[in-house]
Symmetry: C2
Subunit: 218 residues, 2 copies
DNA sequence: ACAAATTTTTAGTTTTATCTAAATTTTTAT
DNA sequence: ATAAAAATTTAGATAAAACTAAAAATTTGT
């Protein structure tokens, strides 16, 4: 199997965003199911082309242009996922593989028109944010939550990235993101969560609750 | 540039459908902007894999499975072109290059769902027919025209494949395929065509007329 | 701080695609 | 029918990607 520069850039992006942005040769090799020596070769090439910063034995990180390239790929991937689910009625859990191919189609105009066709979505079907054309993400959920004014006993609930089970749960209960959610019984949080959404009470299992961000006034 | 098996199969299909189906090494090389010796190598490979019949010095033709593969590619290409024009509002003359990439996406389910989403179109934006899933074309325009009953002085007009200028002309004059067209002055056919469409008279230049199929009662 | 373990790079090999140039086969023209 | 021209294949060269095994650098544990 022959891996493309874009495949490498994407992996470096995804591995790098957890830490300080520097990724090891072996980590890349493991993720891509290739050999470290092959990674060294490719990383040299990417460095010569200006996509990564590379110092021997010291790992790789994306340059500004490398990051831009990665974000464009993420944007394309997630827009295509929205298309597959919303327009073609694919199930959520089947879109990744196809989007993995579609993201490599080269046409800026196509992406712009797709974005418009989908009415400029901000998240993909898994709840992950879609970077804007210039590579900016919407503020993260955590940041947004911190900006919402909540009262003395207030609670703010957000949904973590990549939580299909919880999104399915919301869907089933006719709850859309942005609805006001009030936690009634904070005490029982370990087992289940008793909350009031849109005026009706619902119990949430702790497993699903683990997919939530909570911000509670001190 | 590294050419794929699919690229070769497509070219053999398109070159072969004019003649008896057998295509020469040089014709392929010319079309693909590669060298005849490279074609020989690839054709051997395709032959081993069962996509083509190949006898040294005697040219290549597609096997049944090769033809099926080619038709699937044509189907995908044309469906994507419909999508680009009808859903994303691309201009007709810009879709080919993008469809050339999209046709290589591998997912049978995607093609089925795209077909449904587009409401099972029978022609692409250039008027070329879209093969069905099992590889069958609708009857050709010529065949259809021969089945239409026309009177003593009747004329039947069809649009040839790949004639964007004429389609643009039709569009501009609010003429849809299937409208009845009556040729008034057959005599002047060499320079321009004087026809009556939907009750109003129109002159067609001979250049545009060259994109028409005509069937005139003897 | 240092030896052992781990990680990463280097050197050289293999595989694959494509090319050039020469050899072979087929076609064309008289 | 045969010589010349054209088309096609073969043989060998080049380039790129990925591998194996050995060498070098870094990190870890005491």
């Amino acid at each position: 199997m022959t891996l493309s520069e874009e495949d490498y850039i994407k992996v470096i992006y995804h591995l790098g965003k957890n830490e300080n942005g520097t990724v090891s040769t072996n980590a890349i090799a493991d993720r891509m199911e290739t050999k470290p020596s092959s990674v060294t070769d490719m990383v040299r090439k990417l460095s010569e082309k200006g996509f990564v910063n590379y110092k021997k034995y010291k790992g790789v990180s994306l340059t500004e242009i490398g990051t831009k390239t990665a974000l464009t790929l993420v944007r394309k991937h997630r827009l295509w996922e929205v298309f597959l689910v919303e327009k073609l009625n694919f199930p959520w859990d089947e879109v990744h593989e196809v989007a993995e191919q579609l993201e490599h189609i080269k046409s800026e105009k196509l992406v712009d028109k797709l974005d418009k066709h989908l009415d400029y979505p901000e998240v993909d079907p898994h709840g992950d944010p879609i970077p804007s054309k210039n590579g900016a993400f919407k503020k993260s959920i955590k940041k947004l939550m911190n900006e919402i004014p909540i009262g003395a006993n207030g609670v703010c609930v957000g949904v973590k990235d990549s939580s299909p089970p919880f999104l399915k749960f919301l869907d089933k209960n006719n709850i859309a993101l942005g609805d006001s959610i009030l936690i009634l019984d904070k005490e029982e949080f370990d087992e289940s969560l008793h909350i009031r959404i849109n005026g009706s009470d619902i119990h949430i299992s702790s497993q699903i609750a683990s997919n939530l961000y909570l911000r509670i006034t001190e």
